[in-house]
């Protein structure tokens, strides 16, 4: 099998894609948003519970999509728990860079959570598949939309 594909569809990704973590709704979510990738029909909902200090106490998602978008959403919910909104945004920034820039190095990126990035690095193979970057970032765009109080996020118009 071709190496780039092996990098993209690592066993961890396939596992998250098959059995996504935190795949549920949060009935009393502080905020939620619908994410939509109109080109491929991926659709998901991201739920966030924020505590009084503004930390992400719980985060979950539901929806359907390709292995990459499901795995990315699943892994996102794992790394976001316990983060402040500022940390979550910073993490998205780093993750986005990782997905799009070949020279990305989390150790050198200012303020990146290195442990979280280590886990998310499983998705870095998407760099070789530019058309699939929006699959990997859909859940993150949706998380940001939820935090901003927007109802919907779409990968169209967003990188």
């Amino acid at each position: 099998m071709r190496d780039e594909l092996r990098d993209l569809y690592q066993e961890v990704i396939l596992d998250h894609g098959r059995s996504p973590r935190n795949f549920r709704s949060l009935p009393n979510a502080t905020c939620l948003a619908h994410g939509n990738n109109p080109i491929c029909g991926d659709m998901l909902v991201v739920y966030l519970d924020l505590d009084k200090a503004g930390r992400i106490a719980d985060v979950a998602f539901q929806g359907q999509g390709c292995a990459i978008s499901m795995a990315s959403a699943s892994m996102m919910t794992e790394v976001l728990k316990g983060k402040t909104l500022g940390e979550a945004n910073k993490l998205f920034e780093c993750f986005h860079d990782m997905c799009t820039r070949a020279d990305f190095d989390p150790a050198k990126a200012n303020g990146c959570d290195v442990d979280a990035m280590e886990r998310l690095s499983m998705l870095s193979g998407v760099r070789e598949f530019p058309i699939r970057v929006k699959c990997a970032t859909l859940a993150w765009h949706t998380m940001q939309a939820a935090v901003k109080g927007e109802q919907e996020a779409s990968t169209e118009g967003a990188p």
Binding site: R2, L14, G41, Q64, G65
Partner: protein, 424 residues
Amino acid sequence: MNQKSSAVKIASGDNSTAAFDVERIRADFPILKQKVYGHPLVYLDNGASAQKPRAVIDAMSRAYETYYSNVHRGVHWTSQRSTEAFEASRGKVARFLNAASDNEIVFARGATEAINLVAAAWGRNNLNAGEEVVISHMEHHSNIVPWQMLRQEKGIVLKVVPIDDDGNFLLDEYRKMLGPRTRLVAVTHVSNALGTVVPVAEVIRLAHAKGALVLLDGCQAVPHMAVDVQALGVDFYVFSGHKLYGPTGIGVLWGREDLLNAMPPYQGGGDMISSVTFAKTTFKKAPHRFEAGTPAIVEAIGLGAAVDYVQAIGFDAISAHEHGVLQYATGKLSGVEGLRIIGTARDKAAIVSFVVDGIHAHDLGTIVDRAGVAVRVGHHCAQPVMERFGVAATARASFGLYNTRAEVDALTDALDEARRFFGR
């Protein structure tokens, strides 16, 4: 199970009949020599857009290199030559559809613009609140949205003919929908997502019996079968050039001449007027009435070359070859474990949509791409079809006249690889 066993019996080497040498056809298409990720390009996305034969590429280059100019304007040599070639293409398209007159061929950007033209110029002036336009459940978005926009503007009613689980157009349901308020039936000739060939002769007969007009979206029909608009007795017929081995940016609205001339212009500008004063402008007759501004000149010339190309081969040979490939592909794909074909209508053009258990279409698309196989994945601009079959997306192999059974094998091999990859 019968399908599976019959698939095995079809030899994969046999691509040619006496009348049709697929290897010679393939040699006409320069891009088919291309390698993708080290593999020969296997182009199975003809439903989205077809590749171009050398004859089309050369006709366009020759126009730019030897006689290009604007049309219908200059007295100079290049403008006369360009006008002649542009209008000659109109004539070729007219003969291609067996139109009664060249004046019935309106050049548009594509089928989408052609449908919008009919919705705006005919629909806006002929349809009133409460009157009905009938479409089907398997329309491309381009034959849904213009009518919804008109509904918003005029209060017309949109009715949708259902399809069955195989993707057959339900004629009985359609018949019941037609009534005194039906003004237009706008349906696809061949479904882009399912491959279904709609029984258009019957659709037209029933519509006309109720006094309604019929528009057919022929995008997925004209590459695969001969179309005779007079024999069909249809009122409007549209298609895009780029799916017929021609260039992008050019498409066709065919309309009955009396209908076209009774329609007001679509856009205003140069080239569509007889005279302009600030007090009053008079418009040319069809087709020029609907071709405001400088048209896609060289693209029209390219489309003319594409029409010449397919007609020289002939649709008897093209249809026979493509049906052979379709039958082979249907059998081979049915043999892939966990694969379900979406769209199993009785009468189909060479399009196979499918899903594979546990592997999203988008992932399938990426994996087969690395084997050099180009298929479309997604909703195919036909989301109501996806919803009807309860899937978010399908993969679609859509075949053209240059595709072979060996290419079907390349697809199924790549799908087997995807299944191993996903542990299915």
